[in-house]
């Protein structure tokens, strides 16, 4: 259970007006939500705040009854490696690691031994349809394939929460649909909570609900399928 209560964030510490405030959201395991909004409204910042990569100026975030806003930077880092999965617009695959190694990276951080990590990473790659390319290098992949690897990496350690920042921003619409389908299938398999920031209505449609971020909070913008 993720509960965001009355979150508030200023542009920077000196600014008077908040970027957004009054952001509240509650998500149960298996639920997903898409966050939309105008450029510059702070969608990515919201994700960063939830992930602890940026500090908040008010409000609380709770995951499974743990108050995340009370964590220090390193405490958050340790929480992230266990409970968070990330899918970025820019993929962020490490070019010098094979696909299997890229996927194994979160497991390494959890101190799993090489063999176990490799086995699990390959299993995960199989579930995104890239089993045959496990030992290939990222530079040989298409954008869609890269994002599938990133999805595998985000889910390999069975996180409680998956944060996706414009996951299809670098993909053409056809590929985007395929990748998103895969992403949400896998998230549902895992029973994870998912928050996706996106510009695309089509993308948003993959989530259970769609919310719009405004400076004063989140408003429901779910489009009936």
């Amino acid at each position: 259970m993720l509960a965001i209560e009355n979150l508030r964030k200023r542009f920077d510490t000196a600014a008077e007006h908040p970027l957004f405030e009054g952001v509240s959201l509650t998500l149960a395991p298996g639920q997903s939500v898409a966050v939309m909004g105008e450029s510059g409204v702070g969608k990515s910042t919201l994700l960063n705040c939830i992930a602890g990569l940026e500090s908040v100026d008010g409000g609380r975030i709770r995951l499974r009854d743990q108050d995340l806003t009370a964590l220090d930077e390193d405490g958050f880092a340790h929480l992230r490696r266990r409970d968070f999965g990330f899918v970025f617009q820019a993929f962020h695959l490490l070019p010098h690691l094979t696909l299997a190694q890229n996927v194994a990276l979160p497991l390494w951080l959890l101190d799993q031994d090489d063999a176990t990590a490799d086995r699990r990473a390959r299993a995960m790659l199989a579930r995104v349809g890239l089993a045959a390319r496990a030992d290939d290098w990222p530079r040989h992949l298409s954008g869609g394939e890269m994002q599938r690897v990133a999805i595998a990496r985000a889910l390999v350690h069975e996180p409680a929460l998956v944060l996706c920042d414009e996951p299809t921003g670098n993909l053409d619409p056809e590929r985007a649909t395929g990748v998103l389908g895969l992403l949400f299938e896998r998230i549902q398999d895992a029973g994870a909570i998912a928050i996706m920031v996106t510009h695309s209505l089509a993308a948003a449609a993959h989530a259970d609900r769609t919310l719009r971020l405004t400076p004063t909070g989140l408003v429901d913008a779910t489009v009936a399928p």
């Binding site: 992930a51 880092a77 990330f86 970025f88 194994a104």
Partner: protein, 850 residues
């Protein structure tokens, strides 16, 4: 984490192989140079120490006097003292070997006494089991012509039992017979042993010994014995512990050793800078990667540890390579130049390369430390980064903001100034070296501030490239720090050494010119060896046609039991005594006082003391001083202080007429000849050879001597030059790798410039301009820092290490050329490495992250 460490961090070293190789090389070179210096010296010192222990044996105290010895009547007196259990008299002679033009350390021993103190010196007949009286073998040890060679001397001279060896005494020769060996001397010591009576007779030293080794009676402390016996010793003879006696030589070589070690340390430091540069750039390039890793849960400490591990591994591998290299270099050095690195402190030793576990570990640790140190700031910077911001592309300029650190820089420089004030610690100018390190630190710290200050003040110019370069450096002065730290360090080192060596060389040259007023110099042997000219030989030379005048010089040593009114640790250490004409000839390079003191019956006899002697005796011009001559105290007055580069231990000059009147010693070591106008030296030299014998004299023209001395000087500083070259090389490596990495990390930025219409060549020019500007700032600061370091080296380090002064000389031309070359090389290095980086399609590079 360990898998991540391996795959994410350490593997990255392999990916940037060129930079890694250069960093490794730099560290390896620094470690190798430092360890080599230490290994050579530790082996030489080991052998020297073994020699000392061998020659001192179990002595508790040693009575030592002037080089030519003291009355042997002292020996029975000491032997019969109740404080003394055993006394062993020795007569040490550097015997000149006329047909080999070298000397051999020869020790006259009392066979019946030496065993109790220095058993290693016991001679052994040809065949120790052969006891038949008919062989006469056992008589040999006492026979007047019997000489026993240590294994090293035997091997070096290629002589064995039954062979003959010619030795020079004065200008005459004596032939000695090799009667056996000195097996106890070990393989590293070249020496010979003969009966003390025979040595006295052969070398015309009847009544003289140079040393009495004492073993004290049980329960008598050294201090007690020194106090009891000291008063009964004549002036000029001192009772020293063997440690004191050996520290004379060790003390002299220590400053030289420390100097070389410091140079090696600076080479290692430069290696550290290179690691810093490459790591910093690696951090910049992997900024997004680190941000991503942080996002998925890597904490700051882990990131820092990962990056430090990269530096540590570089240091470890570089250190291992360096250690390996050091042992190879040491073996090579022993094979080529011997154990004293060309400085001549440890003649007659044949040291062996030995594995030194502790030294090796220390230098390995220093290598690792250089790697860690270089990686420290980049790692800290990486851990400090805000991942959310870094996750977005294009913020590398962030890294190069570099705050000016004027306050820290100024504090370092002020501290450096303060460090020039305290005296040396144990003869080593610790604070001087600290000042050098502080100046270097201050210079590097002032880099960002200087860049930020200087760039806006550069003329704006019309050229787009110039404006771009200027804008870039103004906005990101940190880039200059990264590229320039190595430049500052290497330029400062090179410049300071250049100024110091140039000043030193110039001063030595001037000193030689003034010290050698005669037309031709003649000697029977080196002053410490067994050759000399007697009055009759001098008269014969003076009577030769073409010789207008002769100036005899006599070299001896003095031992002052008290120094500066107190008995210090150095009391009793030998000081050089030079008896020569002063008033008539001048020729002393004075720094204070006069060469023409007033004469008269009530005026005390004048002496001129060297700077080192003035320091040690705490004397100034006009002070009275008592010196022991011929075992009698005599009063003198300091008439002047002169500069002496030849005798670190200090020297005292007196008029030869005064010396002869006080001592009745009429021997001459060096004879300066003034030739009648128009006389060429060659026929005179031929006439002298005909008079004194072909091999019994050495002659040299002042010009040749000057050349020879300067050659020795240059050879001594060869190691210094080598290190300088290494430092410059490392600095250039630094610039090359820095700009290669910069170009790579700025591929996107440069790609945009290509998009905006810049040609590939223009991008190259931009990089070259930036590099030249960075290097300009680095070189300028390096020049200033180098000048300051040179001053510290001349006024503090040299003054305290060697106790001599020198006149500052600035080799402006070479420095200018060197600076321009550095800037040009930086531009070329950046251009080349930039071209390499630009080889990939710029458009592609832009798209990569867009």
């Amino acid at each position: 984490m360990s898998s991540a460490l391996r795959h994410v961090f350490l593997a990255s070293l392999w990916r940037r192989r060129l930079a890694t190789t250069l960093s490794l090389l730099a560290i390896a070179l620094g470690v190798a140079l430092g360890l080599t210096v230490q290994l050579i010296h530790s082996a030489a010192l080991d052998e020297f120490g073994r020699g000392i222990r061998l020659l001192n044996g179990a002595a508790d105290l040693q009575a030592l006097g002037p080089r030519d010895g003291f009355s042997d009547a002292l020996y029975p007196m000491l032997a019969r003292s109740p404080a003394v259990d055993q006394a062993s008299p020795l007569l040490e002679i550097e015997a000149r070997l006329p047909d080999r033009d070298e000397t051999l350390k020869l020790i006259g021993i009392d066979l019946f006494r030496v065993g109790a103190v220095t058993p290693a010196l016991l001679p052994m007949g040809e065949d120790p089991d052969e006891r038949a009286p008919a062989s006469g073998g056992q008589l040999d040890a006492l026979r007047p012509d019997a000489l026993f060679l240590s294994p090293a001397a035997s091997a070096h001279l290629g002589l064995g039992p039954g062979d003959r060896l010619r030795v020079q005494v004065g200008t005459r020769e004596q032939t000695l017979r090799i009667a056996g060996g000195v097996p106890g001397a070990g393989v590293g010591q070249r020496l010979a042993v003969m009966d003390i009576a025979a040595a006295q007779q052969t070398f015309e030293r009847i009544g003289l010994i140079t040393r009495v080794d004492l073993r004290l009676a049980p329960g008598v402390s050294r201090a007690t014995a020194q106090a009891q016996l000291g008063d009964r010793l004549p002036p000029g003879v001192a009772l020293l512990t063997p440690e004191d006696a050996s520290s004379e030589t060790l003390g002299l070589s220590r400053a030289y050793r420390v100097n070389l070690t410091m140079l090696a340390a600076i080479a290692l430091l430069t290696g550290g800078f290179l690691v810093f540069s490459t790591q910093w750039l690696a951090v910049v390039r992997r900024r997004q990667e680190f941000a991503f890793l942080r996002a998925i849960g890597l904490d700051r400490a882990e990131l820092r540890r990962g990056l430090l591990a990269e530096g540590g591994v570089l240091g470890l591998i570089g250190g291992l390579l360096g250690c390996l290299l050091a042992y190879l270099l040491t073996a090579l050095a022993f094979a080529l130049i011997g154990g004293d690195l060309g400085a001549g402190f440890f003649r007659g030793l044949a040291p062996q390369v030995q594995f030194e576990p502790i030294l090796t570990l220390i230098y390995l640790a220093l290598g690792v430390l250089a790697g860690l140190g270089g990686a420290w700031l980049p790692a800290r910077e990486a851990a400090r980064m805000v991942p959310a911001r870094a996750l977005r592309a294009g913020d590398e300029a962030e890294v190069y903001r570099a705050r000016p650190r004027w306050r820290t820089a100024l504090a370092a420089l002020a501290l450096a100034a303060l460090c020039c004030l305290p005296p040396p610690i144990g003869g080593v100018p610790v604070f001087g070296y600290l000042a050098v390190a502080l100046i270097l630190t201050g210079a590097i710290l002032s880099l960002p501030g200087t860049t930020a200050w200087a760039m806006p003040r550069l003329p704006a110019g019309r050229s787009t490239l110039w404006r771009l370069a200027r804008a870039r450096l103004t906005a990101a002065p940190g880039q200059t720090v990264v590229a320039g730290a190595g430049v500052v360090a290497s330029v400062a080192l090179a410049v300071s050494m250049a100024i110091m060596v140039d000043s030193f060389r110039g001063s030595v040259d001037d000193w030689l010119t003034r010290l050698l007023p005669a037309d031709l110099y003649l000697r029977a042997s080196d002053a410490s060896a067994s050759g000399y000219l007697d009055a009759e030989a001098v008269a014969r030379v003076a009577a030769l046609p073409g010789v207008a005048a002769v100036r005899p010089v006599r070299f001896e040593t003095l031992r002052l039991r008290e120094i500066g009114g107190e008995t210090s640790g150095e009391a009793g250490h030998a000081m050089a005594l030079i008896a020569r004409q002063v008033r008539a000839d001048g020729g002393l390079p004075l720094v204070a006082g006069t060469l023409q003191p007033p004469t008269g019956p009530s005026v005390p006899t004048p002496v001129w003391i060297s700077e080192a002697a003035a320091d040690r005796l705490r004397l100034g011009v006009g002070d009275a001083v008592t010196l022991p001559l011929g075992e009698q105290p005599h009063g003198f007055q300091v008439a002047g202080i002169w500069r002496d580069y030849a005798r670190q231990q200090g020297s005292v000059v007196i008029e030869i007429a005064d010396y002869r009147a006080l001592t009745n010693d009429s021997r001459t070591n060096d004879l300066g000849l003034t030739l009648t106008p128009g006389t060429a030296p060659e026929p005179v030299m031929a006439a002298i050879r005909a008079t004194l014998g072909e091999q019994q004299s050495e002659m040299i023209l002042p010009g040749e001597l000057r050349t020879m001395v300067l050659e020795v000087f240059d050879r001594t500083f060869l190691v210094t030059y080598l290190m300088e070259a290494v430092a410059i090389l490392i600095g250039l490596f630094g610039i090359g790798t820095t700009f290669a990495a910069l170009a790579t990390s700025r591929r996107k930025e440069l790609g945009i410039l290509r998009h905006l219409g810049l040609r590939r060549r223009q991008v190259g020019t931009l990089l070259a301009t930036e590099a030249a500007l960075s290097a300009l700032v680095g070189v300028a600061i390096g020049l200033l820092a180098g000048g300051a370091i040179a001053l510290v080296l001349i006024e503090v380090v040299n003054r305290q290490s060697f106790r001599w002064s020198m006149d500052l000389q600035l080799p402006i031309g070479p420095l200018l050329i060197f600076s321009l070359a550095m800037i040009l090389l930086a531009a070329i290095a950046a251009r080349l490495s930039g071209a390499q980086a630009m080889r990939q399609d710029a458009v592609l590079a832009v798209r990569e992250d867009w």
